[in-house]
């Protein structure tokens, strides 16, 4: 695992601008830009995890740092949320139901335009 090939990815990053919508080796480069951003992931049992995006692999498993778990106290919404700190967590892609990144409105628009490609 340690010897993974980061060549093409880093090339893409250096040739890449700030603009999220730039294509090229596209998605990977853009995801690289999301590293160290705050990421909010919902999983299928209804909990959310908010943490710093640290790593993702081919299967879509994500590692968050300084993660906080949020869970509602009741199934029926609206309800208050309980939270607790967990530290470094790995969220398998199989249980992930949503994934959001904290970004400015401009960036969000750029991402939306990407979806339409």
């Amino acid at each position: 695992m340690e010897q993974e090939r980061v060549g093409p990815v880093s090339d893409a990053v250096t040739s890449d601008g700030v603009n999220l919508t730039t294509s090229g080796s596209g998605a990977v480069a853009q995801v690289k830009k999301l590293l160290f951003r705050r990421m909010l992931i919902g999983i299928k049992d209804g909990r959310f995890f908010l943490g710093v995006f640290n790593c993702m692999d081919k299967q879509g498993n994500i590692i968050l740092q300084d993660a906080v778990e949020y869970r509602s106290t009741r199934r029926a919404s609206p309800s208050s949320m309980e939270q607790r700190c967990l530290g470094v967590i790995l969220i398998p892609s199989s249980c992930r139901t949503s994934c959001h990144v904290d970004c400015s409105i401009d960036e969000q628009l750029a991402l939306l335009s990407l979806h339409q490609h």
């Binding site: 209804g46 081919k58 879509g60």
Partner: protein, 728 residues
């Protein structure tokens, strides 16, 4: 149910969460990146990772994996919260509006709580066992249900008391989980719990009397409400509940009485232990009645956690698994109801042994008591009680100062008790060491062995300090000659005792290895050799101490009589020393036999491919070697002692016969000491058995290559018996 929930949750949470609960940064929004991530996944090569510069694979490996049941304690099972579970009717109060069913269910809850409590005692977290009970988590909800309320309250109070007993004692590793009560409603003073349970008990006792007074059941006394509706079942249910309530009450008394300082509550505790045991019998007897009245709708489990076999209402361990942190969530199997009763019976018997401890015994007697007590393999709670009883405020039972005990054990007179020597730093230190030793002897075998090995060094340091002080005393002329010899005398006695104690600790360290199954058969030879050496030293020191005590006693009473009897006694070996001699012979016999078998290649034991004999020697005895308890013990001396042993050497002298003879001869000295007597019997048996085996091996060993010898612990826990077989 599970499927529906998953779908529902997944569907609902595709929308971004409400900003009011989880806010994004200032001037920013939550942007959905699921599609982008999916695209990126398609692009990445297999084995490739998207990560930043400071990524550390090692740190990433230690990430908590979400939804892994062994790592993620927050997995939402049935309910999101306790409140939701209660609103959903998971723990209704009353449990049923049908009073008969309500009583049945209450008994099930009581029984399951008992099983949970036993599981807790056996080493699981409180949160996942006793406090899986929703009623206990919100006790105030039950206040309208007298029966349930009183029972739950006393369970909570008992748990709190037991937690405090165990936290006061020194425990270790896994056992520390026991006292974790973070986030549980346990930190509540409840002095009224006894009064509450007494009132309920009285009411039910009256109900029982009332239904017995009216056998046909038709005439119910005015203004008197029966326990439940079915008159025919009234007596059975009253009895079933009464014994359960009484057990709780007495058990609480046991714990509280034993907690009293200076062992003042031990006598009272014994009475309550007796009551507890008899109530447990009644609880067992109620099983038949409770099983016969199970209504058809329930499924009856044979090895369930309740007497009726029904599944109890109001328990959900998943509600507070998050509270069991910092331990990872564990899968827990609650012990069955019958096992729980067996568990409490054993616990109460162990507590009874502790309560029977006479508080005026000597240090030697106390050490012997603790070692004997550990042979019954008592559980954590009993051991914690013993520890707290033994050491209070740095004194034995909170009564006897350590110096007084040490000087008594060292054979010094009462007058020494107030001598200024006890203020010397190393004597104070010695007192602390004895306290530590007592505490360590009360811990579990694994921790005990490790700690015993470690404290040996401290004992050695004290020993050296006393030796140094002795040298100074003899060189110091500032003291008056009378006082000088007195101080010197005290130090000499204490030194002898410290040396003896050090060997005793080393011996205990060695034999605990057998209990923990740390030695492989290939290593028995070196272990017995080590035991043999340590025992010789121990016997030497003990003999020395005893004879110097004798001479002291004689010089004190020399005016009385100088008979010939005394002179003959002087040459006699004290029985306590002969006792050790029998063990020495046995250990020596085993060492030589094992060495001969190894040298003549009769022991089916190939050398280990992983480490040499020397390495294993160090692994097992490193702590002893470090403490330097004897200069002449080394791997080399072990090899020299064993490498030339052959069947012909064995044939020359049979040490087992010696052991057998000594054990037989001294038995009558221990007729009042059943523990040592039974030990002697075991020694005699092993010695006899091995003596026969030795003869067979010596006669046939070199002729018959099909002869196989193995060792087992059939007669004695750590002196092995040889089994000779002809392999076909």
């Amino acid at each position: 149910m599970e499927g529906r929930f998953t779908e529902e949750a997944a569907g609902r949470h595709h929308a971004p969460p409400k900003p009011s609960t989880i806010t994004s940064g200032e001037d920013s929004v939550w942007a959905d990146v699921s599609t982008l991530l999916r695209a990126a996944c398609n692009e990445i090569q297999e084995g490739e990772l998207i990560h930043g510069e400071n990524f550390n694979l090692f740190a990433a490996m230690s990430a908590l994996e979400i939804m892994d049941p062994k790592m993620d304690s927050g997995i939402v099972c049935k309910y999101y919260s306790l409140d939701e579970a209660i609103e959903d009717g998971a723990a209704p109060v009353p449990i049923s509006f049908d009073k008969t069913i309500d009583v049945q269910c209450t008994i099930d809850i009581m029984d399951h709580l008992l099983s949970c409590e036993a599981t807790w005692h056996k080493g699981h977290s409180l949160a996942q066992t006793v406090f899986s009970c929703i009623y206990l988590l919100k006790l105030e909800r039950t206040s309208s249900h007298d029966l349930l309320h009183s029972y739950c309250r006393i369970v909570r109070a008992t748990c709190k008391a037991v937690v405090s007993v165990v936290s006061d004692a020194r425990t270790h590793e896994e056992e520390d989980i026991f006292t974790m009560a973070y986030g549980l409603p346990l930190n509540i003073e409840d002095e009224k719990c006894l009064a509450v349970i007494n009132t309920v008990e009285e009411t039910i006792a009256r109900q029982l009397r009332a239904c017995k007074a009216s056998p046909c059941g038709r005439k119910v006394i005015d203004d008197f409400e029966p326990l439940q509706n079915d008159v025919a079942l009234e007596e059975g249910y009253c009895r079933a509940i009464l014994c359960r309530l009484r057990f709780r009450k007495h058990f609480y008394h046991v714990i509280m009485s034993m907690k009293r300082p200076q062992g003042r509550g031990l006598l009272l505790a014994r009475k309550h232990i007796l009551s507890c045991l008899s109530e447990l019998q009644s609880i067992l007897k109620s099983e038949e009645f409770l099983r016969s009245n199970v209504s058809g709708s329930h499924s009856v489990e044979d090895r369930g956690t309740t007497a009726s076999g029904c599944h109890p209402i109001g328990f959900d361990a998943s509600l507070n698994t998050r509270l069991s942190a910092p331990t990872p969530p564990r899968s827990i199997k609650i012990v069955s109801w019958r096992e729980a009763i067996e568990f409490f019976t054993k616990l109460l018997q162990d507590l009874d042994i502790i309560c029977s401890l006479p508080l005026d015994v000597s240090l030697e007697g106390t050490l012997h008591f603790v070692v004997q007590f550990q042979k019954t393999r008592p559980d954590l709670v009993a051991r914690a009680h013993l520890q707290n009883l033994l050491v209070q405020d740095g004194k034995l039972y909170g009564i006897h100062p350590m110096f007084a005990l040490i000087s008594k054990a060292a054979g010094l007179s009462e007058a020494v008790k107030n001598h200024s020597i006890q203020q010397m730093e190393f004597i104070v230190q010695l007192g602390v060491l004895v306290v530590n030793l007592l505490r360590i002897l009360c811990t579990n075998a694994a921790w005990q062995r490790r700690k015993l090995g470690k404290i040996l060094q401290d004992w050695r340091v004290i020993q050296m300090q006393i030796e140094m002080a002795l040298r100074q005393e003899t060189g110091d002329v500032s003291h008056l000659p009378d006082d000088l010899s007195f101080r010197e005398n005290i130090l000499r006695h204490i030194l002898l005792w410290v040396e003896e104690e050090t060997y005793w600790i080393a011996y205990r360290f060695l034999i605990l290895g057998f209990e923990l199954e740390l030695y492989s058969p290939g290593e028995y030879c070196m272990v017995y050799w080590y035991i043999y050496i340590i025992l010789i030293k121990l016997a030497e020191k003990m003999h020395h101490r005893m004879s110097s005590n004798n001479s002291l006693a004689k010089s004190r009473g020399k005016k009385k009589k100088g008979s010939a009897l005394d002179a003959s006694k002087e040459f006699q070996i004290p029985p306590a020393v002969s006792f050790i001699q029998s063990q020495i012979s046995l250990a020596e016999g085993l060492t030589l036999m094992l060495a001969a078998l190894k040298n003549e290649r009769l022991l089916s034991n190939r050398p280990s491919p992983f480490n040499t004999g020397y390495e294993r020697f160090l692994q097992h005895f490193e702590l002893l070697q470090k403490a330097g308890i004897s200069e002449d013990i080394s791997y080399r001396s072990f090899e020299e002692a064993t490498k030339t042993v052959s069947f012909s050497t064995l044939a020359m002298y049979n040490y087992f016969k010696d052991a057998q003879r000594i054990a037989r001869d001294i038995k009558h000295h221990f007729s009042c000491d059943p523990d040592r007597l039974s030990e002697l019997r075991k020694i005699e048996q092993v010695a006899e058995h091995n003596s026969v085996a030795l003869n067979v091996v010596c006669r046939l060993g070199s002729l018959d290559s099909s002869l196989k010898v193995s060792f087992e612990f059939s007669h004695h826990p750590f002196f092995a018996s040889a089994v000779v077989k002809r392999s076909s």
